[in-house]
Symmetry: C2
Amino acid sequence: MSVQPQRAARPTLEDVAERAGVSRATASRVLNSSPRVSPEAHEAVTAAVLELGYTPNHAARSLVTRRTDAVAVVFSEPEPKIFDDPHFGQLIRAAARALSSADVQMVLMLVHSPDDQARAERFLAGGHVDGALLFAPHKGDQLPSIARKLPLPVVYAGRPWGPLRGLHLVDNDNIGGSVLATEHLMSLGRKRIVSVTGTVDEFSSIDRVEGWRTAVGADEAMTELMTESGNFNRDGGKLAMAALLKRVPDLDAVFVASDLMAAGALDALREAGRRVPEDVAVVGFDDHPLIAPHTEPPLTTIKQDANEQVAHMVAHLLRLLRDEPVRARREVLPTILVRRQST
Amino acid sequence: MSVQPQRAARPTLEDVAERAGVSRATASRVLNSSPRVSPEAHEAVTAAVLELGYTPNHAARSLVTRRTDAVAVVFSEPEPKIFDDPHFGQLIRAAARALSSADVQMVLMLVHSPDDQARAERFLAGGHVDGALLFAPHKGDQLPSIARKLPLPVVYAGRPWGPLRGLHLVDNDNIGGSVLATEHLMSLGRKRIVSVTGTVDEFSSIDRVEGWRTAVGADEAMTELMTESGNFNRDGGKLAMAALLKRVPDLDAVFVASDLMAAGALDALREAGRRVPEDVAVVGFDDHPLIAPHTEPPLTTIKQDANEQVAHMVAHLLRLLRDEPVRARREVLPTILVRRQST
């Protein structure tokens, strides 16, 4: 069996005018809410619009107003990361909520490859959205520099690589949070504090190493010895913790740069027979609601509020779209210590 | 401090023509790949386009070609479900992959409320996408009937409510899979087979009850006694299993209409001191890679392949977009039994 697809013919303004028994100009005036129409014409045109299922051509209208009432939310991340790390679900949910309450359509785009990037650029440049929120933290990613040239306002999540001049961004205080985490461990009398770090190609990760380094006063050699990357995933956190236990057998505390990696680090500590917090105190980063309260033991961590960051990004972008002044191009949101049983 | 936002002025065709030292008409001919241009003009215009970072106005172009090379993927679901049920992550990942390899931009849209629905309709009708994949399974959802009137091809996931005539859809064989699950339990000699069901407002759920009902030969009273809804979430699965244990204490098997609910049902059985599979055999539905192999014990289940369904939906839509014939408007994909230790 072969079925030919049928495309519904789109009703035109002419169709509406004919059905309403008015001129095209009158129909157009009704649709553009012009005051110069009789109540009869208004009623006839409105009825015709409903009968025909007419929708005004927004592509044509956007040529005039340049408004689509849609905002792109773009994640430029390797595919496994975006689907396996629950942090992204949180960000997407927060963006959906914030844009929905501003009556703006969220258009979510995922960019995993150079081909995806070129395609995303075409769409973003194509007049289909009024602005964009860009999550593109990785070194070497061309999207931030492509985004600078787009004819629409963009608000970045965190610091992208490349020149920052002129960019609008909302960051979390990663350095401050990591200092807080490490000083908390020091205040508990811990002397050998190691760190499981993220990936070296993201500023959020680099800043968290920097916070630990500053707090413990580590030089390069000590940093090399006492830190290990867990690649921001759970298995990586476990492997990194195991490596640190071998290299620094007398460690008594660890600052882990994400809750997901901290869950893996707790597995490694358990397998090595180290008690938490008695033998090793553990602090994570994120305060992810699906992870931190549910680890064994529940995780002391640094809260960075995904909802808050995204809400600020949306508010910032909406001000740009309305040509309203913003207080500062760059916003840095505070991070706080949330204490549970792992310290 | 107050920073005035700067919008990059979008270079126009006039700017390109001026920079290239040619007329607007010549610049336009170059950009539209017309053969009637000199090599010199071609080179000058191309150089000007690169220098100015000019991008043709796709909104204007789409008025002519009606092509955006973008496809909307729309999920109309309550918010908690889409973020807490890993099945959606699978579907989104599969759609991203399939559209990316067809060089089509995925535009992901989430619809949670009537306001979201009106906004999504405006965007979909606005000429920003060439077609749509629609996941809107719930009774009472207006989106499927709205989508029927859109001036673009739509492929539905599963059977939506309302008249099916003329719709293009890709479904999974929910009835066949549930018969398979129940007959598998019967072949193991189980006599009292209950079922934890999904929500009554989705055909996938209704079909799974129907498969169980047919296989065990239940009348209405028996169906009332031996089934309980777990609302397609983990806690619901646990509560439903506990209720069934009270109502049918001699039950020896359960068919659970999703893996996530089955994980909850296993918790309830463990708490009630029933061994799986010795006392109670359990079959799930989905074969979700993050759940089924990792439950305790690993879950026998019915595999519905999210990748396969989405790949078929994308292929179907691409044929419609190219005005190519499709074999059938409605495709039903097979489901198979995957045996693990819970039976």
